[in-house]
Amino acid sequence: MKNNSVTPDEKQIDRRIIKNKLAKGVFFLGTLFGIIVLAALLIRIFTQGIAYLDFGFLSNFASRRPEDAGIRAAILGTIWIMSITIPVSLILGVSTSIYLEEYAPRNKFTRFIELNLANLAGVPSVVFGLLGLTVFVRLLEMGRSILAGGFTMSLLILPVIVVASKEAIRAIPQEQYDAAYAMGATKWQIIRTVVLPAATPGILTGAILSLSRGVGETASLLMIGAMTFIAYTPASVLDGFTVLPIQIFSWASRPQAEFQAVAAAGSIVLLVILIVMNTLAIIIRNNYSKRY
């Protein structure tokens, strides 16, 4: 009964092992590539900007003089914008994906919503800016405020959160649902106790990616009329604002070489904020990450 046609020879196995080793090397190089580029970027930014990075830089408002220029308004603006964008986009995004994956009947309308969301992901940020200007700033009369900016940004990053959350929900094995259903759990209870915990890593990955994008986003906010110079501390969501990338962009286009360095210092601040924000998300994600 033993048939040698199936039992493989060592050479074939060796070839496969070598292939695997090569592939591993290639995959590792791929990973390394990203990290090297990041390192290169960081080194450039740091060497350029570190000289301008001091307390004054953090606490001053912008200035025409590089040595006086500070980033206070932009930091506060970014924090304000994010504190609207994070809850709004997460609630909207996660709810949408729960609806689509858990409740929606498989009909044309659902397919339409899904397609529509995927499509929104491809709409460039300037167009979202135009939308924000038309709808939030003008139609809903929010003016060029933090609120309008935060909502625009939420819509801009919504698709990424939805796509990531949907995929995460979709990947939960059916037997997990079965177990909960059989206990008499209601749909909403299952979502709370089975779906959300299991999908959290995926949702957070989406959040990390999209909020990273949001923190660095310039064009859409410029479109809705974000300021570039502002010399007061925003006190409510109806105040005007500027954000870090706009400030950086503005400095980078100045003729003076010193401003290039100030821009780099601004980038350092932006990256630090980003890393702080992501770290939080990553800690939560790591706590939830597990394989079935």
Partner: protein, 309 residues
């Protein structure tokens, strides 16, 4: 005898009418949130269409979709043919995807299938930082680092070209592809992997034949998101690619993409209310339709290959 759980549950059941309300309210709430995306789209279409119509009262639709020259600023003889912008957009997107897809998937596979738990937890967040580097910084990186670097390989590469911003856009979307694909791969149950390992499969074979098919829809989604972002990227392109609308796929030439045109005009000094001003809406509309077609295709693909557990 003390109260049994069964009785307590029955008692709770009787009390919990609010639970019924939640059960009924939640789907409605979620439905409303999901429908919001349609409102957003309608908003976008409304915003774009209103001015696009204005544009087409000045320029004929036929010229727009057949023209091969995009020189809206020549007052004496402007030409509004969308093709150079389309080809510029394609050029950047193709180069970016050529960079990002192999590298992004390679790192996703590495992180999901080869890396130890610990290194995954360190490497993945590091890569994700790449997604948050401001695009202004990327743009300067492309212009002052990648272009000179490329010039050592490609002689007489002009300072403005599609190649280096394309590469840098690719770098920027790597984390999107890596992270989301890795997440999808991670969701393939370990027991299914075990089945393959026990047959003597190498990690590569498990990755290619079990994990990738098992997470195909997630991978496709990540690629589509990446592509969308490549198409939509603006700052990097307008910094390092110049702004010359050229028709054709020549990575060594300066190009202009649809989005960089939109930004150029909307941040620039063009007259408000002029044909040029309206043209950005027509370009935006084109882009919108363009991504729509792309998404219909992608949707089709992932539907076809999805594996269910």
């Amino acid at each position: 005898m003390k109260i049994t759980i069964r009785e307590r549950i029955k008692k709770n059941k009787a009390k919990q009418s609010y639970q019924n309300t939640i059960e009924k309210a939640m789907p409605l709430l979620f439905f409303l949130m999901a429908s919001l995306s349609i409102l957003v789209t309608l908003g976008i279409i409304y915003t774009l269409l209103r001015e696009t119509i204005m544009f087409f009262t000045h320029i004929s639709l036929f010229d727009f979709i057949t023209g091969t020259e995009w020189y809206p600023f020549f007052e004496n003889n402007p030409s509004y043919g969308i093709w150079p912008l389309l080809s510029g957009t394609f050029t950047i997107a193709i180069i970016a995807m050529l960079v990002a897809v192999p590298i992004g998937l390679a790192s996703a596979i590495y992180l999901s299938e080869y890396a130890s738990d610990r290194s995954r937890r360190i490497l993945k967040p590091i890569l994700e930082v790449l997604a948050g580097v401001p695009t202004v910084v990327y743009g300067l990186f492309a212009l002052t680092f990648v272009t000179p670097l490329m010039q050592t390989f490609v002689t007489d590469l002009p300072i403005f070209n599609a190649l280096s911003p394309g590469i840098v856009v690719g770098i920027m979307i790597i984390p999107q592809i890596t992270s989301l694909s890795q997440e999808a791969m991670n969701a393939v149950p370990q027991s299914v992997r075990d089945g393959a390992y026990a047959l003597g499969a190498t990690r590569l074979e498990v990755a290619l034949k079990i994990v990738i098919p098992g997470s195909f829809s997630g991978i496709v989604s990540s690629l589509v998101l990446g592509l969308s972002r490549a198409i939509g990227e603006t700052m990097i392109v307008s910094t390092a690619a110049g702004s010359t609308p050229n028709l054709g796929f020549t990575p060594t030439e300066s190009i202009q993409t649809m989005t960089s045109y939109i930004v150029q005009v909307s941040m620039g000094d063009a007259t408000f209310g002029s044909t040029i001003y309206y043209s950005i809406y027509a370009v935006g509309m084109t882009l919108f339709l363009f991504t729509l077609i792309m998404n219909i295709l992608a949707n089709h693909i992932s539907r076809k290959y999805r594996e269910v557990y």
